[in-house]
Amino acid sequence: MNEPLASLSVVGMPVTTEPAEALAALVSSCPGVASLSGGSLGEVATYLPGRRVRGIRLDGQSVEVHVVAHWGTPLPPIADRVRAVCLPFASGRPIDVYVDDLEVPEVLLSRA
């Protein structure tokens, strides 16, 4: 009957999560990380059927993670935490962390 539907969740999304999606969830929950960044054109992503994962490139010779950091935290420790989270996914490949932007609170922006 409707056998193929068994592999879909209630909202119609596939139940299986790709490594890139799992990694994106882990990285964006790292302290100091505001969000994942798609680069200046939004092209940095893992392209999956029907969706894309912004800021993560898992295919190729390296693992590439692009993030927007929160204002006020030194960036190297943030990058270290991101790298630690990525390690299980890297399988020996280098993990390159790109801090593409900073999220600055409005208070600091408005002060002229």
């Binding site: 030194p74 960036l75 190297p76 420790p77 790298r83 390159d96 790109y98 593409d100 932007d101 002229a112």
Partner: protein, 155 residues
Amino acid sequence: MTTPVESSSKTGAKPTSSSSGSELTTAQGQTTIADSVVSKIAGIAAREVSGVHALGGGSGTAKAFSAVRERIPGASQTVGQGVSVEVGELQTAIDLDVVVEFGVAIADLAQGIRRNVISSVERMTGLEVTEVNVNVNDIHLPSDDNQPAEPARVQ
């Protein structure tokens, strides 16, 4: 009035890099910090020094651009305005365009800006700041604030 004060040494600030133990280049991969990140940090650090009226100003074209930007709806005042940076793998160089308040010792202020920018950028990014060039483009007079528009010369 334009008073250029340039200096390319990092006097008055000690290098703080490589003391944190967090390196940008590790055995497991590189950390790359984008230009906009460095310019935001430098912009905020320069602005918070007392005696700095604003960043930017500068040449006629720069002023014209910022005047246009102010009128574009949704275009926010960028923190990176008046800041240009070059970022390498381990080092960065920063140029600042500054409008100072009237009544400050400009050389001392430039030194204060330099110290704050270097310490902020080095602490936040782990990059070594090789130089901070401060261009004082204008001086802001107290009378500039609430000056009514000049009356028309002809009726």
